[in-house]
Symmetry: C3
Subunit: 259 residues, 3 copies
């Protein structure tokens, strides 16, 4: 059997020693663990960014992988740390809702509180190193999750913004801006009844857009609307950066209308 896999998702960046310290602690407990970086570039304290990231990546993993997520503005407060099983995926997360956009109901949620599976001295500001990493190390060695703490039935959830139907159209919002400046919305492709003829983003009318299947269908520099790889409506600039072009950020409104 392959050695156990542990992934890491944080907002720590890479210039400081925090990710490295976590890797050291995990390997100190389980030298056979296979560590995989998912990202350390979640914007600082941006729980909603983390939530989108997890919803769009964790479901692709096989179910025996353990995912550590440390995007944790509440570190050291009385917010809980959770061990979650959801569609067979296993997560260690702060209880701030970061995992709750994964579209499924969890099989179980455990509050991690057993001191035996922490570092001997626990700081107030780096639970990634002192609680998450040791718990992951022990779980990857086969520790029964029930040993970490009690099962619970209440936890923080993120509200999902829902699009609203309009006469001959639909209104939604930008839920993610990716590395290319592509704007991903919360409007499912299936909610768009006909090819859109009107596009308004953040109150700016964008008359000159093309409805395409993929970026290469338009000339470089053209504003395009298409179905994103996750089945939602996306606004992009072919070989360009739509976020910069339109000067918009996550949370901006979008309206599509069809004739």
């Amino acid at each position: 059997m392959a050695d156990p896999i542990i992934t890491l998702t944080t907002d720590f960046g890479e210039e400081g020693p925090y990710v490295a310290a976590m890797k050291g602690v995990i390997l100190g407990i389980n030298p056979a663990a296979r560590l995989i970086d998912l990202t350390h570039q979640v914007p600082p304290q941006d729980v909603r960014h983390a939530a989108y990231f997890l919803a769009e990546s964790i479901p692709y993993f096989p179910s025996d992988v353990l995912h550590i997520v440390v995007v944790d503005p509440g570190v050291g407060s009385d917010r809980a740390i959770l061990y979650v099983e959801i569609e067979g995926h296993r997560l260690l997360v702060p209880d701030n809702g970061c995992w709750t956009l994964i579209p499924a109901s969890p099989e179980r949620v455990i509050r991690v509180e057993e001191p035996r599976y922490r570092r001997a001295s626990v700081s107030s500001t780096f639970h990634g190193r002192d609680i998450f990493a040791p718990a992951a190390g022990h779980l990857s060695c086969g520790l029964d999750p029930e040993r970490l703490g009690p099962a619970i039935s209440e936890w923080q959830r993120l509200a999902v913004p829902m699009p609203r139907p309009l006469p001959d159209g639909i209104g939604g919002e930008l839920v993610f801006v990716d590395h290319f400046g592509n704007l991903i919305t919360n409007i499912a492709a299936t909610q768009v009844k006909r090819q859109p003829t009107t596009l308004v983003i953040d109150s700016q009318a964008c008359p000159d857009f093309a409805w395409v299947s993929t970026y290469a269908d338009a000339d470089p520099g053209r504003l395009v609307v298409l179905v994103s790889s996750n089945g939602f409506i996306e606004v992009a600039v072919a070989e360009g950066d739509a976020a910069k072009r339109l000067n918009v950020m996550r949370g901006a409104s979008i309206v599509l209308r069809w004739a």
Copy 2:
């Protein structure tokens, strides 16, 4: 025998879920695959950057490694996806020439088109997740590459800019600007007949340079010309950033003359 290695080279950055989704898909097919990040910081859609990157890194790997490269402005168009074997290295690449600066002739090139080795649903904008990752997973499990599609003999190639000889000198161009702001040229060290006395970059005369063996041979801040670690002429600033100092980018011209 060691578990199979798969490397990843993309322009996806790390803040979004794309690299993570690819890793999930690969491990879902082959949980024993050992994933190694080469880079996710190729500038968006910059095929020429990717080509230099691959030419300067792939040859150092042992031959049984499988390299996935997703720098793919043509995603979803009719551009092909290729499986390439070149000097024993194995690559999955979009057919945009990104691999063609590796200085060798390929042993074989296969057009990847067999639907059986894709995800069940293939998006138009994320073939990294839907075609490259599953193909890599299956290949790492021992799939015969011939099962992916037909061998072909035509593919896209990048033109290599060649330096031109001058009277008592040589003219070339900057083919890579690295993280330190060092300027790597297309002028092989062997083409420089004597120690240069004149340096012109992007039409700027740079009178005060030193010809050195390594950065530490000059005082910090000094403009230096030296032989780069790949055998080509490099312009740098000792403990500084030549690209910023001279305000130049890839593609700028360079002229060296000797007395």
Copy 3:
């Protein structure tokens, strides 16, 4: 037994081929090596940054791990390359003091000079690929470190800035600015006798700060002073960036006074 682990810490960034080339060379010698990135985001040539990074991460690793560190402004000069064993940790480092803030005495230090364990051709500007990577590959295959060169007893050391006691207070300096803009000082928490009432950073009085246990104890945006996860005094902004707020960098002075 688990396959041998080799970590990588560099200032190479990720857009260029340097890290990838090193990984290729290591795997060419030992295909079973498990490569772990610690960081490639040390600021260029910033030995002191690397030293803090290593002091705060290496001690968390188990002792059989081999750590390659290439932050090396002296590459190609007569500076030595060292193999170090310190509290059981194994390092390959340039002799510029980058490892000397790890709080322990080394068990042994060897000067790496045996040509047999280098690449056949050694460049003047990329010893990471040509000397460090092959040495690491061979060490991970079980090479006796004594084969690399002679044991030595003299090496470069970084001076550690010491805080100075003041009447009812203490003066120190900022020794690290992390990804969040948190300011880590060289003042141990144990040196602070009572709760501070006065804070001066880089000659700026900061009257409105809160003394807290963790970030979440203050309202977002509040300047806070707390004990960092390494036991030293830290200045931060709750859910914000103290370095930007105060416009300070590493090396700035800090004074704490208590009534």
